[in-house]
Assembly symmetry: C2
Homo-oligomer: 450 residues x 2
């Protein structure tokens, strides 16, 4: 796959681009990305994926084979050949505002705003939605797991459960944005500089004559950093074997069975052996609910590995970000756009999100306003990140994104951090936005009747 | 991301590989990939992702930067430098048997079997699991949607809902293996040669003065192939507008509202206008349940676009394929391996899956046997696809994979095709396998007591 291929899009983006091109519709349009409703079990989102989105915007183009593919596509049979010349020279030239990664966001709030010639802005919809939806979904899940672990390490173990290898990299990165300490994903370690962790699998134990040989060989290889997997046959026998060998490992890992009882028993045994610094690592279909329950019941676990629940969260398996036209320029005139199907109103106009905190720094409410409205002490969450198709400033280090998320979680009132659905965080629309919505409604009704 | 990077793996695969290398454990091992249990709502799986898996096995290696990354990793601080020489020359040299893509599979049945020097076979676990799990999950979902659509076209619309752009390509491909007709994903069209479909978005309508201008411009651009989106403001007004324009489109698309009532109403109106060949396309959060219900209630829909349900299926959001050691050679001796934690028995030995059909060609039952057992008329499902790290034969065309799936669905007794959970398809283990399991159990118990 060519990473920055312009064909990474739904065909309808290209048919619409051809339509705009061929009918001479070249005004600038503004689209905003947001979600209408939180998924079940979520009280907030943690924004992630911006770096990948901007990389794409900065590099996307069409190569000769891709243009040839489109030329031969039956749907483009009657398209004028200057459209293909347009694609040959295609570069994104627009402006982008976005919430920095690690920011907490709520429904209705634009997490990104794109202003560009309408065909360009339209073409990039599919990629932006895919990238921001997935990373934001994972960072939001990771923040819940981070919260449930109460300061203990959480490591992303989802490489085998994510939706293919490329998704596993995005997942590892977004997990760290949301508060994880690191990942088992080695390439994510190399690419993003996150810490990587690795122990051993059941197959290592099974391939050896018995556990003492398996443990011994691993300790021979990693005298300082061996975490030994103790649940292949029987946890207690395995821990006794290790203690009897009198070779202290860095840690042990429990991957099945009664993690609460086994961790308490193992902690006691390890302490009695004088091995208070041997860490107990737990994994095996864990998620925020199981981690919270384990800690509530007194499990003695130092770090958690979380796989499936991070890579493909079962309780909220998709995040339906949408990309809506809010303003379009045509024949020199700016016109706001909105949508009015029954329960699905989309507010028009270029927006800013303002966050208000109390004197203790706690978030109190957000207000969605037009971009030029007075802020009245609110913190603007959308920052310009791209001008004329070029990034403004370098990428932030991943550690800074994680710090932003962790700090934001501290500013969020406790009730929103619970795992169950809480009352909604207050998000309102400004009076000017509401007035603009009504103006657009009247105009659309008028033209529909025409 | 480097597509065939050896770092696309969990770090523990690399620590184990280092352990095998450094302790001189170089025997050949056999691992098998299978699932223990079907996800909720599934009666069968459709295998997919083999081509991607074999591509990776044939090309995986470590480049200089990747080796340098590992060298500097704290966990490898004490590893002998000849391990890094080993990685520098690393190529997969093993043999692989697999079920061809489009084959129907059941729990316990190996969908792939890998035999290679143990460190190699271990290193590739993560990638094989990620790739085969995801594609098989999607093809299995697609087959349900294909079945529910009763011969009508189903098009993958998930590009924006899949877990990032790379996952969207795998999803488009696996959707076609499972019976979809094509995809909206343009790059998937170019890469895999599948048909791509595109209409127009609500933003196209909203950007224009009114619907008649929007429809007119699209018809000007695509006189032969325009499918017009009619639900932006009001479906019936939009259909009336199109008919009043007297410019016949190729189709109309409904994306919200009462798809059953609106499609029936629109069919009637289009037919009365003499436009019996104008197709009605439906989309908007569809899945196999909604499609079945629409058709049961008499909806007049010719084709379905399915997005989220294909890219990130909510009813079974992950498929937990596992990769288990079943045999290992050491010091010239072959030893079968099995696992015996409480409810999680893994059968030892290199296996074959035999499928038995009745005289009408209907599948009756499967038997999992050792690879050299007599077949007694059963069809062997595992085929050798790789020898000494090289593929045997070229990739099959995607259309052939889809044909295999569609034919297999016809051979599957009707009760397994229902959307709800049915009785289990009969899969048994051969007597020799059961005997071998007991032998291994005795040996493991003996060595555990030692």
């Amino acid at each position: 796959m060519r990473e920055y291929s312009g064909l990474l899009t739904d065909l309808y983006e290209l048919t619409m681009a051809a339509g705009y091109f061929q009918t001479g519709f070249d005004g600038r349009a503004t689209f905003e990305l947001f979600i209408r409703q939180l998924p079940a079990h979520r009280n907030y989102l943690v924004v992630a994926g911006l770096e990948q989105a901007l990389d794409f915007l900065e590099h996307v183009d069409f190569n000769a084979e891709e243009i040839e593919y489109l030329r031969r596509h039956p749907i483009f049979a009657k398209i004028r050949s200057d459209f293909f010349d347009y694609l040959r020279k295609f570069r994104f030239s627009g402006d982008v505002w976005a919430m920095p990664e690690g920011t907490i966001a709520f429904p209705g709030e634009p997490v990104m705003r794109v202003t560009a010639p309408i065909a360009e802005a339209q073409l990039l919809e599919t990629y932006l939605l895919a990238t921001l939806s997935y990373s934001t979904m994972i960072a939001s899940k990771a923040a819940r797991i981070y919260t449930a672990a109460q300061g203990r390490q959480v490591v992303d173990f989802s490489a085998r459960r994510a939706h293919g290898a490329a998704a596993s990299l995005l997942c590892a990165r977004a997990s760290v944005v949301g508060g994880c300490t690191g990942t088992s994903n080695t390439l994510a370690g190399e690419l993003y500089g996150v810490d990587t962790y690795g122990t051993q699998a059941h197959s290592w134990i099974m391939a050896h004559e018995n556990e003492s040989e398996a443990f011994g060989h691993f300790l021979d290889t990693f005298p300082a950093g061996a975490t030994l997997l103790v649940d292949t046959y029987n946890v207690r026998n395995a821990v006794n074997t290790i203690i009897a060998m009198d070779r202290k490992p860095a840690g042990i890992r429990l991957d099945s069975g009664d993690l609460c009882a086994d961790s308490r028993w193992a902690r006691h045994k390890l302490d009695r052996a004088g091995w208070k610094d041997v860490k107990i690592f737990a994994s095996g279909d864990l998620d925020e609910y199981k981690i919270a329950s384990l800690l509530r019941r007194g499990a003695r676990i130092d770090a958690f590995g979380v796989g499936t629940a991070l890579g493909a969260p079962g309780d909220a398996p998709h995040l339906n970000l949408i990309y809506k036209l809010v303003e379009v320029e045509r024949r020199g005139e700016i016109r706001e756009a909105a949508k009015f199907s029954s329960a699905k109103v989309t507010y028009p106009g270029r927006k800013q999100v303002l966050r208000y905190s109390n004197s203790r720094g706690e978030y109190v409410n957000d207000r969605i306003a037009l971009e030029d409205e007075p802020r009245n002490g609110g913190e603007p969450l959308l920052i310009q990140v791209m001008r004329d198709g070029r990034r403004i400033g370098p990428n932030e280090p991943l550690a800074a994104l994680r710090d932003r998320c962790v700090a934001s979680l501290r500013h969020l009132p406790k009730k929103y951090l619970q795992l169950a659905r809480s009352a909604k965080y207050s998000v309102s629309y400004s009076r000017r936005l509401k007035q603009m919505l009504e103006q657009v409604r009247r105009r659309v009704q008028h033209s529909a009747v025409k």
